[in-house]
């Protein structure tokens, strides 16, 4: 398949869901705000959501997607957007909460039953989400998968969906902004998170020394350092949000504001 037709396919394949994501979210906000018993949907969440969609899609559609095909450093910039920063912003948009508000009570119950199912519980588990996230990256960069991805369209599409989905699952398993079936203790989440961040950093330094097949040493070094420090920056935000959650939940009783 020629490169041009490759990008025509991926532009449409990823561009349309991204546009739909924004339109449906705004429609959900409209439905939620029309219900008078509910608090007005926070406007900042709309900003988080739209920025999250644009940044995630930015890695898959248009010039950055084309550049990351040729250059490992750009590829890594795209992955930071698609697998870390985008998912974090999307999670801050609280899409599940919005969905439950926008649907009828009967439909909302069905969705919440689905979210409480064993299968959903398995994927949202911090350890599952972490293994999918970091394990996937190790597989991608230390096997022939990375080179193969650029020659097979279906593999490219699958891997990018995986990176995005695993990044989103990991973020929500740590932050629990939306309702979840089971909330793990802060200590539990912290321990898992430390291992994930360590795994991410170790992989970065490993790639610095041993580039993926077909990547020059200069590109690999720049890409690995971007992965290391960019990953730190996004994860630092998640760490602050995680501990902020602990701080708010551990407030002494006399400081709690009754509403």
């Amino acid at each position: 398949m020629s490169h041009d037709s490759f990008f025509v396919v991926t532009d449409w394949l990823f561009g349309i869901p991204a546009l739909l994501g924004i339109v449906l979210y705004l429609f959900g906000v409209y439905r939620s705000d029309r219900q008078e018993r509910l608090r007005r949907w926070p406007r900042i969440r709309i900003v988080w959501w739209i920025t999250g969609v644009l940044l995630s899609a930015g890695a898959l559609v248009g010039p950055l997607a084309a550049l990351s095909h040729e250059n490992f450093t750009w590829h890594m910039a795209g992955h930071l957007l698609l697998g870390m920063l985008g998912p974090l912003l999307l999670a801050l948009g609280a899409p599940v909460t919005l969905l439950l508000r926008a649907l009828s009570v009967r439909r909302a119950r069905q969705i919440s039953r689905l979210l409480r199912s064993r299968l959903a519980g398995f994927y949202i588990h911090p350890i599952t989400a972490s293994v999918l996230n970091i394990g996937g990256l190790w597989l991608l960069y230390t096997t022939g998968l990375f080179a193969a991805m650029h020659h097979h369209l279906w593999l490219y599409v699958l891997i990018h969906i995986h990176v995005f989905a695993a990044g989103y699952l990991f973020t929500v398993s740590m932050l629990a902004i939306d309702p979840v079936s089971r909330r793990f203790s802060y200590a539990y989440r912290t321990v898992v998170f430390i291992l994930v961040l360590a795994g991410h950093g170790i992989l970065s330094k490993f790639l610095y020394a041993y580039p993926p097949v077909g990547v020059s040493i200069e590109e690999a070094r720049a890409g690995a350092m971007l992965m290391y420090y960019g990953g730190d920056a996004v994860d630092l935000v998640i760490i602050v949000l995680l501990f902020r959650g602990w701080y708010l939940s551990a407030a002494p009783v006399r400081h709690q504001i009754l509403t």
């Binding site: 360590a198 290391y228 602990w246």
Partner: protein, 167 residues
């Protein structure tokens, strides 16, 4: 009328270990952060990766690097929690900071730099004086921290003997 601030010794004693741990965590994280900013980014003495790094060194470096972010942020949130409980005990907190910071620096300077060979303090120089200053500072920090913690404990005992009264 003069309002005299009475230190809340009851709260401090109740949260004695939390004060110490908040300090140890923050100190450890802060020293790791300074290591990254000053020696990696500003001076460019440290290297991102050194060919002589052994595999276990990569793992140790990765774990400590990850842990240090959690320690920094977590230590600060613990201190904020103590503050809102009127239990923040600066002497104990500082003692912890020095112990945690010194311990990390000593670990970094001996195990990580020397045994695991992650990277050296600086390249193309006689490394001995650098190592001595690095690890010497670490030991001084630990000793100073331990002394502060002991002194804080003495303060708490003395305060227990005198009943504070508010007029």
């Amino acid at each position: 009328m003069q309002v005299k601030h009475v230190t809340n010794w009851e709260n401090r004693k109740e949260f004695r270990t939390r004060n110490l741990w908040a300090g140890i965590l923050f100190g450890l994280g802060f020293v790791a952060f300074m290591d990254e900013t000053v020696f990696h980014q500003l001076l460019h003495w440290h290297k991102f990766y050194d060919q002589s790094t052994v595999a276990v060194g990569l793992v140790s470096d990765g774990l400590f690097h990850a842990f240090s972010w959690f320690a920094t942020v977590g230590g600060l949130y613990l201190a904020a929690d103590l503050n809102r409980r009127d239990a923040l005990w600066h002497k104990m907190f500082w003692g912890g900071k020095l112990i945690g910071g010194g311990a990390f620096q000593l670990y970094d300077g001996t195990i990580q730099h020397k045994v695991l060979q992650i990277h050296q303090i600086r390249y193309d120089v006689d490394i001995i004086p650098y190592d001595l200053v690095w690890n010497g500072t670490a030991v001084i920090m630990i000793v100073a921290g331990l002394l502060l913690v002991r002194s804080a404990g003495r303060d708490a005992r003395d305060a227990g003997q005198v009943q504070p009264h508010v007029t």
